[in-house]
Amino acid sequence: MLPRLRAERVALFAISYDAVEVLRQFAAERGIDFPLLSDTGSAVIRQLGLLNERVHDDHGAYGVAPNPRHLGVPYPGAFLLDERGVITHKRFHTSYRERETGVGLVAHVLGVTASGSGPAAEWKADGISIRASLDSPTYCWFQRLRLDLTIALADRFHIHGRPAAEGCVPLSLLVAPLEGVEVGEVQWPEPRRLADPETPDECWVHHGTVRASLPLTFTAPAGGGDRIVQVAVTYQPHDHSTSLGPSTVRLELAVKEVALVGRTLPSRT
């Protein structure tokens, strides 16, 4: 992520309520060379209106006892500023525990696909290829990863979208249930209406390159181990004026568990 930020000339700053000495140690341990800013007492966090005032309510949801160190934390998130210092993107989370991977956040705000670091799987047939990937090869407790899907169609193909015409199966992406993982909603691009005089019903289709994504939040406590994310993509191609039968492609993505910063994973027997 950091080389990508440098290439895009994006300065990086991180702010927390930790004391300078804590940050100095953290930066040394992790080889961090961008500014970690110390907002001891959370004055700036409060001034910006980012103080998480509902930490105790959230604790009820997580079954965590209140702790003085929990006071003064900000809502977790980030701002992207343009060259004039104006906020162009803002990403914040409901829960103080959920956080996207650094790569996922940067990729989203920079509008680029961060490829290469996470697991990927691909399937190809005549006229269609399907690729699924995760934005990180690892996960830790309460991390949110992004599953990206790219479908490339030859010009002669469309695939049915939503709303699907009668008897047609719309494009769908399903992730097999995983214990301790919350699967979010798929964000699909807008389909296009197909003008076909022979079809009395409205027909909404995708063509060319179709990109979609969904969030996967790993909420189970640490110790879940390495996981396999199983993805099923169902599509029904439309070739010129003929709808072919629906197909389902299954792909698997392996992701490894890592410990939270400063912690170790529980030993597994």
Binding site: L5, E8, R9, V10, A11, L12, F13, A14, I15, S16, Y17, D18, V20, V22, L23, R24, F26, A27, P35, L36, L37, S38, D39, V44, I45, Q47, L48, G49, L50, R54, D57, D58, G60, A61, R69, V73, P74, Y75, P76, G77, A78, F79, L80, L81, D82, E83, R84, G85, V86, I87, T88, H89, K90, F92, T94, Y96, R99, L105, V106, G262
Partner: protein
């Protein structure tokens, strides 16, 4: 039990506004002014819970 959602468009500085002036000490104890330090570049300013827990 799912958490109640919050409208973050209304919490904190908003998109379209200039990011406020922030001057804080960094991990070396040097005072850093965010707008000055980004020196005309784009910037990503991340708020996180703690480096310790």
């Amino acid at each position: 039990m799912p958490l109640r959602p919050r409208d973050f468009s209304e919490i904190g500085p908003k998109e379209g506004e200039r990011f406020p002036d922030v001057r804080l000490a960094d991990q070396c104890g040097t005072i850093v002014d965010v707008h000055e330090a980004r020196a005309g570049r784009k910037a990503l300013v991340v708020f996180y819970r703690s480096a310790e827990w």
